[in-house]
């Protein structure tokens, strides 16, 4: 494969900075909510356009990079919009636009306090997320990873209730520890290899670390990114963080933050260790074990949750481990499925969270057992919910089917039939914990409490429109994987580069 000349451009930097730069503007226009939200939209629009402009190069397999200056001797603050980074950035920045619309409906509908802080932190979180996506080396990655922790802390603690405080402390404890483990791992790699730059196929040569050290190093890195990816037993912060306002749960705790973790796993597996070293050392089995167990356990726990957001949180934990398991299988098909699931799960799960928020704001209900008959009053919301549920269970024509199909193919390709069993069983469990909600809402008569406070009509269009858009997107991507955004083509290119970079013969 010919080496791709990487072009230099400030686009990645602009994409990251634009939402950081509007933070002061948001803070200053706190008294004029419409202007304040205008800033958010402007930033979201510019950000998305920047990422779109990076797309053509990424489709060619090239990357757009920018090294600003040295962070520490030998390690630059380098931004590289490689295909995988663009892929993640596309998901995060695209969904931010939809979420911004939804946030307005939710925050105003719910009469939340401190909305200025909310929107400012949200914008900062998106800067950090794109930073994670475009980080060209591990130290830059850590920088934005920690910034993401800090920026999302005010969002988790938003309600400032004792419960919110507890959750936020827990979040900090988990996330800061994870960040430190990453720093330790980065220092170790740098001390031994002298580089931290991500490269397809890995940067750790044979023999630099002893076998035992490699296992420790791998555990450090996977623990570091695994906390945000919610791999059990590192997941407890995520259900607790559901105390945050629903737009936060939707974009950050289903897309940006947790996917940064999942994205980190892909970086560690594909760009630091590389498939060859992973399988040579049996590291793939460790990751696969944890991920597989997480998928099943999380699904079973989700069955028992009555609070809708908690159930969604456990479902998220399970689905994040799809990505981890796909990466651990190392087969090209599984990696493709893993990358596709990054975007597929994002679109579907954000729909479900949007629905949960709409139900909460409009019908004032958060427990699933009280949803009887709600579907008749809120057909659009529950229709979207049904689409998302179908997709997460892996039923065509929703996009969840495609990623799952590739994950299953990859399981067979890598000869690990047990992974195939995990994916299929998890599909059943997904159906078992999602479908009853839809059935309850559409087919059961309203119960006594519902009669006392009947729910009429849909939530505000500011909330219903976004969730319809994302549900539609889920179906469209299920039918046309490359339309309107070429996720499938990107994923295939990324996998090719990882496989080529990992093969013993130098790829040029």
């Amino acid at each position: 494969m010919p080496a791709d000349p990487s072009t230099t451009s400030i686009l990645p930097l602009v994409a990251i900075l634009v939402s950081m730069l509007v933070v002061p503007a948001i803070l200053l226009s706190g008294r004029r909510p419409n202007l304040r939200e205008g800033w958010t939209f402007a930033a979201a629009g510019v950000k998305f356009v920047c990422v779109l402009l990076l797309l053509p190069a990424a489709l060619r397999g090239a990357s757009t990079s920018l090294t600003l200056f040295e962070l520490a001797p030998g390690v630059g603050l380098s931004l590289v919009a490689d295909p995988l980074g663009v892929y993640f950035a596309l998901v995060a920045s695209g969904l931010w636009i939809v979420t911004s619309v939804y946030s307005i409906g939710y925050m105003r509908g719910h009469g939340e306090k401190k909305q200025t802080r909310f929107f400012a932190s949200f914008a900062l979180s998106l800067s950090a997320t794109l930073g994670v996506a475009f980080a060209g080396n591990l130290l830059t990655f850590i920088l934005f990873y920690e910034l993401l922790t800090l920026a999302t802390y005010p969002l988790v603690v938003h309600k400032e209730s004792p419960q919110a405080l507890r959750s936020a402390r827990m979040y900090l404890a988990y996330a800061l520890t994870a960040g430190l483990l990453l720093v330790v791992a980065a220092g170790w790699i740098f001390a031994r290899t002298g580089t931290l730059d991500f490269a397809p196929g890995g940067i750790i040569a044979e023999g630099v670390f002893s076998d035992g050290e490699l296992k420790v190093l791998f555990m450090l890195l996977i623990t570091g990114v695994g906390v945000k990816a919610g791999i059990m037993p590192l997941h407890s912060w995520l259900p607790a963080a559901m105390v945050a306002p629903t737009p936060v749960s939707a974009l950050l705790h289903a897309v940006a933050v947790v996917k940064s973790g999942a994205f980190g796993i892909l970086r560690v597996v594909g760009f630091i260790f590389g498939p060859a070293l992973m399988s040579g050392q049996g590291l793939d089995v460790i990751l696969a074990g944890f991920a597989g167990a997480t998928i099943l356990l999380a699904s079973i726990i989700a069955l028992r949750q009555d609070n809708l957001k908690k159930r969604l949180a456990y479902s998220t934990i399970g689905h994040l481990s799809y990505i981890a398991l796909g990466a651990a299988l190392l087969a090209p098909g599984a990696l493709t499925g893993s990358i596709l699931h990054l975007s597929a799960h994002a679109v579907m799960k954000i729909t479900l969270f949007f629905c949960a928020g709409a139900i909460q704001v409009h019908a004032h209900r958060s427990e699933i057992s009280s949803f009887n008959g709600l579907g008749r009053a809120m057909p659009w919301t529950f229709g979207a919910f049904a689409i998302g549920s179908l997709g997460l269970a892996g039923i065509p024509p929703v996009n969840g089917f495609i990623s799952k199909w590739w994950l299953c193919l990859g399981s067979l390709e890598s000869g690990r039939d047990i992974a195939l069993g995990v994916f299929l069983l998890s599909g059943l469990l997904n159906a078992a914990y999602f479908f009853p909600i839809v059935i309850r809402a559409f087919f059961l008569p309203p119960d006594a409490a519902g009669d006392a406070h009947p729910v009429r009509g849909e939530a505000s269009p500011w909330m219903v429109a976004p969730l319809c858009v994302t549900a539609t997107l889920a179906v469209v991507f299920g039918l046309f994987p490359d339309f309107p955004l070429p996720f499938f083509e990107l994923a295939k290119g990324i996998v090719q580069s990882i496989v080529a970079g990992s093969s013993p013969s130098p790829a040029g």
Binding site: E70, L71, P73, L77, L172, L176, G187, A191
Partner: protein, 490 residues
Amino acid sequence: MSSHLPLPVLLTFFGAALFMPLAGLVHRRAPWVVAVAGSLLAGGFALFGLLHVAGHGEVRYSVGNWDPPFGIELVADPLSVFMLVVLAVIAAATLIHSREPVEREVAARPALYYASALIMLGGFAGIVSTGDLFNLYVFLEIAALASYALLGANGPRSAVAAFRYLILGTIGASFYLIGVGFIFIETGSLNIADVRAIIEVVGLTVPIGVGAAFMVAGIAVKFALVPFHQWLPDAYTEAPSSSTALVAPIGTKVAAYVLIRLMLDLFPGERIESALHLREILGVLGAIGILWGSIMAIPQTNLKRMLAYSSVAQVGYIALGIGLGTAYGLIGAVLHILNHACMKSCLFLVSSNLETKGRGVKIGDFDASLRRDMPVSSAAFAVAALSMIGLPPTAGFFSKWYLLLGSYEEGRWFFIATIIASSLLNAVYFFRILERMYLGGGDEPARRERTRGAALLATPAAALAVGLLLLGFGNAYLVSEFIFPIVSGP
């Protein structure tokens, strides 16, 4: 001027101190003006020195034209000028800020107060620029005596705390002096470069070994290295807030300088290390200090006391870096001198602002009104706290990064675990305060209550907080231009 290099800085501090009694007669605020002007001028000289030495190499100046080893020599090498800049920056920030706090707390004789402050700064500047072991002792005592006065100027409680510090400090200085005596017995010289050359010829004899141990132990007291740290929390907590803000960031750092100078220039090499294990001991005590200081900081109810224990932990980082002895370890130690001076100065300036505005420093009293009424100070505190925890891209992250790399080079897993644990403990005690500061309260607007000199109080802390971010982003430049020459030698 460049041939006299360290001298102008010393003369500026001491000269400004001499003017104080006169300035006190002119106007109530004249001493403050003279002190600020002096520290700014000294800062200018120090900065010039830093650039000159980086460009043209070190400058040695023989006082009174008596050539070393018989005369006293002032040396402006990369480490000295680096320390002078740190001193001058912190001095300028604190003195600019000190107008209101000093009028409030030591109203009686600001001239005397500022004279002591400048004499102390002059003493510190002397310590870092002298090339003579005995002369270093003299400056050590000058600075110490002045600092007892500064720390004790806040009523009887602070006088008692300062007296404890005086006793321990004197013991430390005496140990150092005894050590110098032993070295002199064996080598017949007091000039650092000369003594080193002689040691290389005569080898490690018993008196030299004993002398080295005495000197290091004596300085360790001044350095507040565990287990010699007892004096520090009391002295810093009871002292006037502006004294703490001046002494805390640089007092221990000057001692750190002496340790680095001793280990780097006087007793280098593996032979002495294998006989005395000085580096080993410093490193392990540093690691213990990091943990002990961080743990003790958590239950404190007084902000100043908490920051003081945090200082105990932070000097541990420097000791750890010296103990590693590798290039990365020393880079980490030297960089942390600068970083920690800026962070701690910023934090103590905010605590001084709290006292000056009548808020008090009881952590239990902090609430959201702080952020509303003192937005700049609160933000500066938050940045410095994040830097203390060591989150990138603040300066604090990078000194830890170099220390980590050094620990890997040496395979010191215990040190790595210590650095990690300490970051988490730091997060515990700083987020406890940030939660109180930034959570709770509603959206109500700030109370527009004008305090005299509010800008003077807030600006230095804010400048240091911005500096912490710049130091973080610019650390690669700093390290390669100014710090690497220190550890790699001429």
